[in-house]
Structures are given as structure tokens and as C-alpha cells.
């Protein structure tokens, strides 16, 4: 960081989740997912994001639990490193540098200290190999993993194309029409090939492979939708296979259940198919999962499975094939045509979601608030179909009205629908009020509401601009018939045009008195009362790309950008050009709460941000090279309360926050907070199941046993471990239910003292006094509490400050300390 208060570009949502198969933690309570450069830890119960583990410099390509320690996680990345994480605490334990790009990661319990990765073959560009990497045992954090041995050559890039068989005896790899099986013990490679043939539905190339966990059986998915079950593949010639066929498009992923009795498959149809006993006739379906299934993963106890979808959604499914939960952040859609719109009511970001839906994305919680079905048609997941698309959206009257435009373009005719939705307070959702078929004869290019706070609701006006060379004004019509069900509907009030040019943009001034409509090269300004043309502005070379009015003190200015790379500012009072700048602006976004306007340009492969006031041609703020991808859209989101701004330079960020969406549909924002502040993780302590039950029965039994053992040894244990008590002390404190604990202000000094392992004599006395007081007070509290205070009293004997502590701490202590350090932030912040 250059200066303490410099702006940083922060990623805040929308990273692709389908880099690798998701992994359930051993107790099926948490779900781990590769998300862009991060690994995310979700809670299965609450759908929350609990941890965001960052550290990789490039996309994460594979995550696997450490087979020897279920609290640890390996992750591989394109930056050529494998990291070992303690995912419960979000701490990186070790980093192994391999060197070359890593494209997938596999682990096997039978291989003590090796992992398998797919790497590009050195020298050759597009051939890949499966290698095993021996992870060195060393003391340091960063280690070099040099011991690499090649297992299979010429494998596919996709992590789905390699699977390890029963107890790690063999590995199966598929590429195009070839299946390779390598037996580790016999060191024997078997190659089986299909004859390549093109059928109507596609070809019979392999797409994915999965191995039976108990038997020698390999399941492979094909591009034509078939699933083949291979047996007897030890022999070169006498292998057999059976075929299951339901999918009409490529099988995207396969997964066997834990016992291997069932097989799950998914594909573009977004239907999860459950095949019973590997037979073609017994199958169950879970249809309409929303978007194509990319990965299927099973929990180790078989109670849950999850599917990762192409639109960055995670669906968690029960073992009886019932939909259980859905974890959805920013849903990725094929093309965001609506732009970024802010819902005035919820302050959520509104954009295209699932096909035909509008998603309301909550920026604070990185979750989808809800998805509004606009098109209301059954979506058919099939390639080559022309689907209805949502192209425009606008909010009016503080979120009371919503206007949407959907279109479906066929070769000959265009289907357009303008829908107006009214927010129903009772049901807390939008209700369709008016549907208008073919509002324009060609594409609608822009739409805006005239929104005035002080005026009554019936002054609400909607303007649509279309390529059919007109703009139309829609007004609310009140139905006078008292018996009618609905009191208002919308109808066309005025149609305006200008020299038969296509209308490209429209925008109302802040007070709603003027409407600016751009017609190709010209901007026309209309009086919104009489619909008279007031004046026109034209800046010859190039068509108008964006227009917007200035706000507040700058409301006399009209800003426009042209596709020849000019930014012009016109004065509406003098009807003359005030200033212009040479800037190839793609996005022009005014802040609704201040007079600042943000312009994002795209020049020589880098996006730059310029923030300016229309009254001055000099920008207030410039940031070059905002991010590595092209910025597609941007929006100002009003803050709940103005943020204190240290520097004059960042005054424009006081009232609103700027968010922008890149081509890869990652949502970014500009933040003034320093890195540490932003990355402070939530102080949630994850409860860890130390002893791992395997079956539901042992789960039941285990809980019972644990309780018993706790009751037996609860008090004694604490006293016995006199020197290592700080970790159980903290644990005890944290694991006690909140309602039994005394107030936080009372606990805090005890807690902090417990962290100080050694102390001076003087302070020890003080603390003892305090603790005595505390124990008096807490006598009425629960037994557990008393245990805690007793332990604290004993705790005070060794005297030394944390800072003066010798650096020779045991591993567990270090870990504990790190955790504690994180903990006490939140405690302090409470006072």
C-alpha cells in the first residue's frame, strides 16, 4: 500500500465457484468451495459464508481434505502452489511450491505424504500429465515440493476426467475416446478405446469418469448423454460395459454414493439423475435445478450431496433426493443486459439472474435476497433455443414500481413485452400490474422513470426509447370504475421522434421537468409537461453513447459521451457546450446523492476511472488500471450513513459506494479501508467435532458417550493440566452457552488476563482480587462458570507478560494464540 488511505479495489462477490468439486467437511456441517482465488467455507445449516481463505495468487483449481487429518485441507492453484489449511480457523499451515501450473488436485489415503496433480507437460503446450507430488516434511511455512513422479501421460485438463478407484488401487483417466486405467500395484497400464462416431445428439467422447468405491467398476459419462459402466477392465480384451442413457446432452459429472449402490449424474438439462443399482430402468430425478450442473460431490457419510452449477449456485440435496438448500451469491447470467440497478427499497443490486429472472443481490451479506420471475415461462435447458431475455429494468417511486422489458428475437419477428410491476406491501413482493405487448416495433434501448419525491404518485411517468425511431411516454391511468379489480393501469400518452433517428438513450433531470433523449448523434431536450422540444445538442463526430443530467448544484449541466471518445458537458441555461474532454468513456454513472459523476474508460486494454463534477472539467479523482478485466457495468450504491472521509480527494465516496462488474462477472468495489480492517474475519468460532462419527448410529451413540465422558472428567481435567490450561480455559468460556455467562464487561478482564500467561507479582494480586470478586458474583451462576473462575485463580501464578514471552511456543499454543488474537478484537470493539 502506498498511502494509509489510498483506495483499493476490493472483490466483493460473484467469483466463479465451479473451479473444482466442492468438498464437504468430515462431519458434513461445512462445505468447502473453490471460489476464484479463494477457498470459501460455507455452513451447510445456515448457508452462510463462514471463512474466506485467501492466499493464492491465481485461480484455485482443486481442493481436497487431508485424508490423514480431516481438519486440514489441501488446495491447489494455477499459481503453482499447494497450500495446506486449517479450514476451521482459516489459517494457512503450509505452502508447497511445485512450480508449474496445477490444474487439478487429488488425494488418496493410502499414499502417505503424496498428492496427485495435473500439470502441463513441460515443453509441450497442450498436453497434460498426472503426477504425484511428494510433500516434504519440514519445519517452515513455505516448502518446495521437488519430488515429482509422472503417473499418466496425456490426460485431459478437466479435473473430472480422472478418478481413483477402490482403495486407491488404480486410477482411471479419460480423454476423447480413450480410457486409461493404471494399476498402481501391478504398475500396469490398460488402454481401452471407443470407436469415434458422430451421432445426432453429439459424439461419444468421454466427458467425465468416476470409480465405484467398493467394486472394480468405472462409470464414464459421454458427450452424447450416455453413461457407460465398465467392468473387468483388468484384461486387455475381455472388458465389458453396460450403458445407461437418459441425458440428451453431455453428461457433465458423475458421482457414486458412499456404498456405491447409487450413481448420480447431471448435465446441461439441470436434472440430477439417481440411478439405482446401476440399472437403466430404476432411476429417480430431481428436475429443474435452475442451471446446468457442473460438479456433483457427495458427503463422506452419504447423507448429503451437493451440485455446483454453471451460474455459481450451490445446491445441497438430501440423500433421498430432496432439495435441501441452495447457497447463492451473485448468480452469473449469460449476459447482463439490464445493467446494474439499485433497488431503492432494499438497497440491493438488481441485475439479470437466472434466465428470465431478476436477481436482488444483497451487497452486505453476499447473498441473493430474492429472485423475481419476470418472464414466467418454463425455461428449457437446451442448446440452440432462442430464449426470452430480460433486457431493461427500471425502478420508480422509491421502489414502488418496477418496469421490465423482455425480448425474444427470432430471425423474422421480434417479441417484446413491457411489464409494469407494483410492490405489494402485503405480500412483500412485486405484483404484475400491466403487460404491454410490442411497446415498440424494434429493440428498446433505454427506459427511465420520472421520479419526483414531492409530487404525488400519479405524476409517475415512464419513458422508453426504441430503435424504431421514437420514444414513448407511458402514464398511469386511473380506472374510474369503482367495481373494477384494479385501480391503475398504464397506457401510452405521447410518442415523440426526431428526424427519424433511432432513439438510443433517455434520462430525466433531477426535478423531472426536462427529458433528454439522444437520437444517434443528437441530444434532444423535451419539456416533460407539454412534451415540446426545447433544444438540441450535437457534437458531430460520433453517436451518443450515454447521457445524464448533473445533480444538486450542477443540475444545469447535461453530460454526454460519444462513441468517438468525447465527453461533453452542455450548459442547459445557455444551451451551449461548457467543456469537452477526449475520453473514450464506456460507462457514465452519476451518483444519486451527490453531484459527482463517475466515468469509466477503456483505453489500450486497461480500464480507468475518472470522477468529476460537471461544473469543473478537471476530474476530482483518477484511478488508472482499475482491474485486469474490462469493466462492464458500474453503479453507485447509497450508503446507509455517510462515511467519514479523511481526504478531500475521496469526498465523492462519502455518500455512496461505487460498485462495478467486470466481464467475468466479478463484483468489485473501491474501499478506503486498509487491508487488515477489511479482512478481519467474523469472530465466529466454529465448533469442531473432534471425534468423528461415521454412521448415523454412531453419531447418536457418540453424542451420548461424549456427554458421559464430559460429565466424568469435566472438572478434574481442568485442574490436572495446570500448565496448559489456557486452551481449555478459553474453550470452556467459548463453549458455555451465552445465556449462562455473566455480562461481557465482567468477563472481559478475566478473559484478557487468562490470555496473559505469566505476570508480575503486583498485578497478580490485583487480578486475584478481581477474580475473587468475580467468583463471589458468579456463585449464583452455573456450575461451569464457577469452574472457569477457579481455573482463572490458579492461572495467575506464573508471572510474565505476553510481550516478554519466549518465542518457544508449542505449535498448538501458537495456533491458539493466533485464534485468540483474532478473538479479542471483537471483545475490545464491544466497549
Amino acid at each position: 500500500m502506498v498511502a494509509p488511505a489510498s483506495l483499493r479495489v476490493v472483490r466483493c462477490g460473484g467469483s466463479t465457484l465451479h473451479g473444482a468439486r466442492a468438498v464437504f467437511s468430515a462431519d458434513s456441517k461445512y462445505l468447502l468451495c473453490a471460489s476464484g482465488d479463494f477457498v470459501k467455507l460455507y455452513s451447510v445449516g445456515t448457508e452462510e459464508t463462514l471463512r474466506l481463505m485467501g492466499g493464492h495468487a491465481n485461480l484455485v483449481t482443486g481442493i481436497q481434505l487431508n485424508p490423514h487429518n480431516h481438519m486440514q485441507l489441501y488446495s491447489s492453484s494455477l499459481d503453482g502452489t499447494i497450500k495446506l489449511w486449517d479450514f476451521m480457523d482459516g489459517i494457512p499451515i503450509k505452502t508447497y511450491t511445485v512450480g508449474s501450473k496445477l490444474l487439478a488436485l487429488y488425494t488418496l489415503p493410502s499414499w502417505e505424504d503424496s498428492v496427485f496433480v495435473i500439470t502441463p507437460k513441460s515443453g509441450e503446450g497442450d498436453t497434460y500429465q498426472l503426477v504425484s507430488v511428494k510433500l516434504p516434511k519440514g519445519a517452515g511455512q513455505d516448502l518446495e515440493a521437488k519430488e515429482v513422479s509422472v503417473i499418466l501421460n496425456g490426460v485431459d485438463v478437466s479435473p473430472k476426467c480422472i478418478a481413483f478407484g477402490r482403495e486407491g488401487e488404480y486410477v482411471a483417466s479419460v480423454k476423447e475416446v480413450h480410457l486409461q486405467v493404471y494399476f498402481f500395484k501391478q504398475k500396469h497400464l490398460n488402454r481401452i478405446s471407443l470407436s469415434a462416431k458422430k451421432t445426432k445428439g453429439g459424439n461419444n467422447h468421454f466427458t467425465c469418469v468416476s470409480c465405484h468405491p467398493k467394486e472394480d467398476c468405472i462409470a464414464s459419462g459421454h458427450a452424447d448423454g450416455k453413461i457407460r459402466l465398465w467392468r473387468n477392465f483388468h484384461h486387455k480384451k475381455e472388458y465389458t460395459f453396460s450403458t445407461l442413457h437418459w441425458h440428451h446432452d453431455a453428461v457433465m459429472d458423475l458421482a457414486f454414493s458412499v456404498e456405491g449402490t447409487n450413481l448420480l449424474s447431471g448435465g446441461v438439462e439441470s436434472v440430477l439423475v439417481l440411478w439405482h443399482n446401476e440399472s437403466d430402468c430404476q432411476k429417480d430425478f430431481l428436475p429443474r435445478l435452475g442451471s446446468p450442473i457442473e460438479y456433483i460431490s457427495m458427503a463422506s457419510d452419504g447423507s448429503l450431496c451437493c451440485t455446483l452449477h454453471r451460474d455459481n449456485r450451490i445446491t445441497i440435496i438430501n440423500s433421498n433426493l430432496r432439495f435441501s438448500k441452495s447457497i447463492q451469491g451473485l448468480i452469473k447470467s449469460a449476459d447482463i443486459k439490464t445493467g446494474l440497478v439499485v433497488d431503492p427499497r432494499t438497497k440491493a443490486l438488481v441485475l439479470n439472474g437466472e434466465p428470465g429472472h431478476l436477481q436482488f443481490y444483497c451487497l452486505q451479506s453476499d447473498q441473493q435476497l430474492f429472485s423475481l420471475d419476470i418472464v414466467q415461462q418454463q425455461y428449457i435447458h437446451q442448446a440452440g433455443l432462442i430464449q426470452t431475455d430480460l433486457v431493461q429494468v427500471a425502478f420508480g417511486a422509491q421502489g414502488k414500481w418496477l418496469a421490465t422489458v423482455e425480448e425474444r428475437e427470432e430471425t423474422t419477428n421480434l417479441e417484446l413485452q413491457l411489464k409494469l410491476w407494483f410492490y405489494d406491501e402485503e405480500t412483500q413482493s412485486f405484483k404484475l400490474n400491466t403487460r404491454i405487448n410490442m411497446p415498440h416495433e424494434a429493440h428498446i434501448t433505454a427506459m427511465c422513470f420520472r421520479d419526483m419525491e414531492e409530487l404525488e404518485e400519479d405524476s409517475l411517468i415512464l419513458v422508453t426509447a426504441g430503435r424504431d425511431c421514437v420514444f414513448k411516454v407511458w402514464m398511469m391511468v386511473e380506472d374510474t370504475d369503482p367495481e373494477a379489480q384494479q385501480s391503475v393501469s398504464w397506457s401510452c400518452d405521447f410518442v415523440g421522434s426526431y428526424h427519424n433517428y433511432q432513439a438510443t438513450n433517455c434520462c430525466f433531470s433531477e426535478d423531472g421537468s426536462l427529458l433528454a433523449v439522444s437520437f444517434e448523434e443528437t441530444v434532444t431536450v423535451w419539456d416533460s409537461l407539454t412534451w415540446d422540444l426545447k433544444c438540441t445538442f450535437c457534437q458531430p463526430p460520433g453517436k451518443i453513447r450515454n447521457i445524464c443530467f448533473g445533480r444538486l448544484t450542477c443540475s444545469k449541466y447535461l453530460i454526454g459521451t460519444t462513441d468517438c471518445g468525447f465527453l461533453c458537458c452542455w450548459n442547459l441555461l445557455s444551451c451551449a457546450l461548457e467543456w469537452s474532454a477526449h475520453l473514450n468513456t464506456f460507462i457514465l454513472q452519476p451518483d444519486p446523492l451527490s453531484e459527482y459523476i463517475a466515468a469509466v474508460s477503456w483505453l489500450s486494454k486497461e480500464s480507468s476511472l475518472f470522477v468529476f463534477k460537471p461544473s469543473e472539467p478537471q476530474p476530482v479523482y483518477i484511478q488508472r488500471n482499475l482491474c485486469r478485466e474490462k469493466i462492464q457495468l458500474a453503479a453507485f450504491v447509497p450508503r446507509d450513513e455517510p462515511e467519514p472521509v479523511s481526504s478531500e480527494k475521496y469526498l465523492w465516496l462519502r455518500r455512496s459506494q461505487l460498485f462495478f462488474l467486470t466481464d467475468a462477472q466479478e463484483l468489485m468495489t473501491l474501499s478506503m479501508k486498509s487491508l487488515e480492517e477489511r479482512l478481519t474475519p467474523s469472530s465466529k468460532q466454529l465448533a469442531v467435532e473432534e471425534s468423528l462419527p461415521v454412521t448415523p448410529f454412531s453419531l447418536l451413540l457418540g453424542k451420548h458417550r461424549q456427554q458421559q465422558s464430559q460429565e466424568d472428567s469435566g472438572l478434574g481435567k481442568l485442574i490436572v493440566h495446570k500448565h496448559k490450561q489456557e486452551s481449555p480455559a478459553v474453550k470452556e468460556l467459548l463453549h458455555t452457552p451465552a445465556h449462562v455467562l455473566p455480562s461481557a464487561s465482567f468477563l472481559c478482564p478475566i478473559f484478557i488476563n487468562s490470555l496473559l500467561i505469566s505476570k508480575e507479582n503486583k498485578s497478580a494480586e490485583e487480578v486475584a482480587e478481581e477474580v475473587e470478586m468475580a467468583s463471589e458474583k458468579s456463585e449464583t451462576e452455573s456450575d461451569e462458570e464457577r469452574d472457569g473462575t477457579e481455573m482463572d485463580q490458579e492461572d495467575t501464578s506464573p508471572v510474565e507478560f505476553l510481550g516478554e514471552m519466549t518465542c518457544k511456543l508449542s505449535k498448538s499454543q501458537e495456533k491458539e494464540l493466533r485464534r485468540i488474537r483474532k478473538m479479542d478484537y471483537s471483545w475490545v470493539a464491544a466497549f
Binding site: 400491466t434 393501469s489 410518442v495 422540444l533
Partner: protein
């Protein structure tokens, strides 16, 4: 995960007349009975007591008709010249009528000869009526005077000569026995109180007043004259409440319905308009063959009688209310519904929630399982195809969206092609179906091109389709011509610099706005 979304069937608003409760109510009359009278029917009055006979004054006769009789029950024909304004008394026993010769006659319903005759007007008496105390009669004559008569003594109580033109209409207050109003051709309506010597209030209507009416509450007054119907607030000293101009010829008669919620006006323009008395908007209108002179509604709106200038009496009876046959299926007992509903699950109970079963239409079920051809068959069944063609078209569109329309249309036999083509040829000209049905027609001709000529039936259907489309093209061409002419006209009217308005032009035609 979402559930299956059924096919959206777009419902379009009916263009033109909207169906409201009023239209349903006022359409609930049978086809009218026409009775020929001897001359123009100037007054129809219903008796207020059952069986609600009505007196029709036409030419020199007064006919009493029963509810369903086509022939008069009784006739009063003791007039030498034209009779006017035969009116029942509230108890339905007496009938009073004015005449061309200036005398007013009072008849007993059961007798023939007049009980009383009131002489005093020097000119024809066009309006007579009972005051609500039943013992007095008011009248208005062409001698510009409005008189009040005592029935027992047959003498004139008072005579007001305040109007300056013919008095042609009048009405007595139902609330106050002393109050009556008269309307005159001198454009005024005057309110008289029998206790005072002069008129209490004068209201200027602006046109010769043809008919006046007091609301049952006595607070509002309706006057009709010229093309206007005006409503006045009497209690506010004759303030104009609303002025209605819905007829394009003189309004001749007014009438309230039995509930007082609707006001009816008949006019020389052959229309009867029905207004709501809350919003004063026209809620319905009737069309008649000739100019209307008088109109009356029986109590309970049972019968609507309209008299015309050509002497035809048009009688409409209300259709008997259709008794809905209640299905005799035995409903399950109440306790089967509440069975188990009140049970509160205990903590250790494991609740199995039963999913709500959604009922899908047959075509939706088939579409859900991707059976395109069968889904198309399902919507080509007679009831759907004939009565709800929008469903058929919606399913066709859905199939087209799914890309399976061609395969659904293919492989059909002669009978089915015949059916399809009949449907397409009939519906392709409807603007709401045109886009998709053109595609369907295209596909059918594509698919079945090789078999043309093998079946006479199919060939005939193809020819019909061609004919229908040809007709439509001609029609559209004509429309475009008209549009061009109108454009030229508009252009001459509104020359407004560089901008020009093109409201309600070609783009107005294609828009179908629908409110859900």
C-alpha cells in the same frame, strides 16, 4: 429449485365495450315486445301497487296494460282530442290525465267515466300529477300557468303564472306534500310550495325543459332539455351539480330505477342512456329504432317500457333469474375437514409435511413431460379449440419456443390436418394470433407440400387458407390507404416545426394493452 411453470395464456382485454356489472344487469332483458299505439306515446306511468299495471298515453286514448299482456286491459277513450300525461296516484286507484282541450280528468281505475273534471286551463294541459298527500293535483298548461287543484271539490286552489312559455313537465316531491316543480320551455324550472303565493326557487336550465325529475330524497333535481341532462342540488339553493351531455339530440324523458342508483334518459337520438348517480358516467345504453318520447321502469326494474314518436311501444321484460341447480353431491361432514387440524405437534414429533398438489391442465402435464405432439392434440380438442382459441395458440407458441413445433405438426393424418388447417384459416386473421399462426401455417405448408393433391379435403382447406389471407391483405391495404389520407390531414392541421405528433396512428393499432 423451482416447480414447473404452466404455460402462460395471454388474456387480452376485450376491445370496445367493457363488461361491467351494469352491462350484465341491463342486458338481462328479453327480446322486446312491440305494441303499436295510435299515435306518439307521450307518457308511460307505472302503478306503484302490484301487479304493476302501466298506463300509456297516446293520441286520444289511455291504455292500461298488464304486466305480460300484449293487449290493453282497459282503455280510457273519453277524450275528444289528444290526451296527455296519464298518471297514477300512489295507491294505484286513481288516474289523472290532461288533454288538448285544456281540461284535466280524473278516472277511477275500475270505472270508465271520469270522476272529476278540472277546468281552468285555457290551453292544452301537458302535465298533471298528484301531490304526495293524494288529495291535490298539480298541472301545467300551454297557457304558461301551473295550477293546483283540490280533488274532492274539483276546484282550483292556486294558480301560478310565472312561466313565460309552455309548461311541459313537472314532478311532485315525495317528501313534502306541498312541493312540486314544473319545467317550461322558457328554459326554467320552478319550484313551488303550495303554501306560498309564488315560486320558491327558479333554476335556469339553458334550454327548453323537456323533463324534470326529483330524487326520492327530494334533495336533487334532474332536468332535461336540449341535449343536456343537468343535476341540481335543491338544498343548496339550486346549485348545478353536474351537466351531462351524452345525447346528440333533444333529451325527452327521464326516469330513475327502483333503487335510485341509476338514472335513465331517453332522447330523440333513439338512445336510452343509463347513468350511475354516484359518478354520473354512462354505464350502459340502449338503442331503439326510432326517436324516444317517453320511458318508464317498473318497480324492481322488472319491465322497461319505451314509447316512440311513431307510436310503437317497446316493452322489455327481465329474464327470470336462472336458478342455479345445486349439485346434490353430498359434501363430506365438517369434521372431516377439521380432522387433525387442531393437533399441535409435540416437540419430539417428527412432522412430515405433505406437499401441496398442484393441478395442471392436460396440455401442461404433457408439456411437462415433453410430449409435444400429444400436447398439441390436447389443445385441438373441440372445447378448447372452439371456445378458448387463445389456449391453443399459447401452446403452439410454447412449442415453437421449445423448438418442437415442427415435429408436433408433422406426421398427422388427413383428418387431423383438416382440423389444424380449419383452425388456422379461421384464426389467422385475428391480430392477437397472427404472428404465431403465420408460422404454423408456414410449417404446415412446408411439411405437407409433398402430399398436396392427394386429398380433396386438405386441398380445399389450403384454398380456404389462401383465400382468408388474401382477403386480409386486401383489407390491410385499404386500411393503409385510409391511414395515409389521415396522415395528410393531420399534417395540414399540426405543423409544429420539426416535431410532429403521431399519437394513435399506426403504432396505436398494434398495441394491445392488457391489465392483469
Amino acid at each position: 429449485m423451482t416447480t414447473y411453470k404452466p404455460v402462460v395464456v395471454q388474456t387480452f382485454p376485450r376491445l370496445g365495450e367493457k363488461i361491467t356489472q351494469d352491462t350484465v344487469y341491463w342486458r338481462g332483458y328479453k327480446t322486446p315486445v312491440q305494441i303499436k299505439e295510435f299515435g306518439a306515446v307521450n307518457k308511460i306511468d307505472f302503478s306503484t301497487v302490484p301487479p304493476y299495471n302501466y298506463a300509456v298515453t297516446a293520441s286520444s286514448r289511455i291504455h292500461i296494460y298488464g304486466r305480460y299482456s300484449q293487449e290493453p286491459i282497459k282503455t280510457f277513450s273519453r277524450f275528444k282530442d289528444a290526451a296527455y300525461c296519464a298518471t297514477y296516484r300512489d295507491d294505484g286507484n286513481l288516474l289523472v290525465a290532461g288533454g288538448e282541450e285544456g281540461s284535466i280528468r280524473l278516472f277511477d281505475i275500475s270505472g270508465r267515466a271520469p270522476l272529476r273534471q278540472f277546468d281552468g286551463h285555457t290551453k292544452p294541459v301537458h302535465v298533471v300529477g298528484f301531490l304526495s298527500d293524494k288529495y291535490r293535483i298539480f298541472s301545467g298548461g300551454d297557457d304558461y300557468s301551473s295550477n293546483l287543484w283540490d280533488i274532492p271539490s274539483a276546484t282550483e286552489i292556486i294558480s301560478y303564472s310565472e312561466h313565460t312559455d309552455y309548461v311541459r313537465c313537472g314532478c311532485a316531491s315525495k317528501v313534502n306534500a306541498d312541493v312540486f316543480i314544473t319545467g317550461s320551455y322558457d328554459h326554467t324550472v320552478k319550484l313551488f310550495d303550495a303554501r306560498t303565493k309564488s315560486s320558491v326557487m327558479t333554476i335556469d336550465h339553458g334550454q327548453p325543459v323537456e323533463s324534470v325529475l326529483l330524487f326520492p330524497s327530494g334533495g336533487l333535481l334532474v332536468s332535461a332539455g336540449g341535449r343536456y341532462v343537468k343535476v341540481w342540488d335543491v338544498l343548496k339553493g339550486g346549485q348545478l351539480l353536474v351537466s351531462l351531455k351524452n345525447h346528440h339530440k333533444t333529451v325527452t324523458c327521464l326516469c330513475l330505477n327502483s333503487s335510485g342508483q341509476r338514472l335513465l334518459s331517453g332522447s330523440l337520438d333513439r338512445h336510452v342512456k343509463i347513468y350511475s348517480t354516484t359518478s354520473y358516467k354512462v354505464v350502459h345504453s340502449f338503442n331503439y329504432a326510432t326517436s324516444i318520447l317517453s320511458l318508464a321502469l317498473s318497480p324492481e326494474d322488472e319491465t322497461l317500457v319505451v314509447g316512440m314518436t311513431n307510436g310503437v311501444l317497446n316493452v322489455k321484460h327481465r329474464k327470470p333469474e336462472e336458478r342455479k341447480e345445486k349439485p346434490l353431491k353430498r359434501q363430506p361432514a365438517y369434521r372431516t375437514y377439521v380432522k387433525g387440524r387442531t393437533y399441535m405437534p409435540k416437540q419430539e414429533d417428527f412432522c412430515v409435511s405433505k406437499p401441496v398438489k398442484r393441478v395442471l391442465r392436460k396440455y401442461d402435464k404433457l408439456l411437462k413431460s415433453f410430449q409435444s405432439s400429444k400436447a398439441l392434440d390436447a389443445v385441438l380438442e373441440p372445447p378448447i379449440r372452439l371456445y378458448t382459441p387463445e389456449v391453443t395458440v399459447a401452446v403452439m407458441q410454447e412449442l415453437h419456443r421449445r423448438g418442437t413445433l415442427r415435429s408436433a405438426l408433422a406426421g398427422r393424418d388427413e383428418k387431423q390436418i383438416n382440423l389444424l388447417l380449419t383452425f388456422v384459416a379461421r384464426r389467422v386473421i385475428e391480430p392477437r394470433f397472427t404472428p404465431i399462426l403465420v408460422t404454423v401455417a408456414d410449417m404446415i405448408t412446408d411439411i405437407y407440400q409433398p402430399v398436396v393433391g392427394q386429398s380433396a379435403i386438405v386441398d380445399r382447406q389450403f384454398l380456404r387458407l389462401q383465400e382468408a389471407i388474401g382477403k386480409e391483405i386486401d383489407y390491410q391495404e385499404e386500411l393503409l390507404e385510409v391511414l395515409g389520407m389521415m396522415d395528410a390531414l393531420f399534417a395540414t392541421f399540426t405543423k409544429k416545426g420539426s416535431t410532429y405528433l403521431e399519437e394513435n396512428k399506426s403504432n396505436g393499432l398494434k398495441e394491445t394493452i392488457e391489465t392483469n
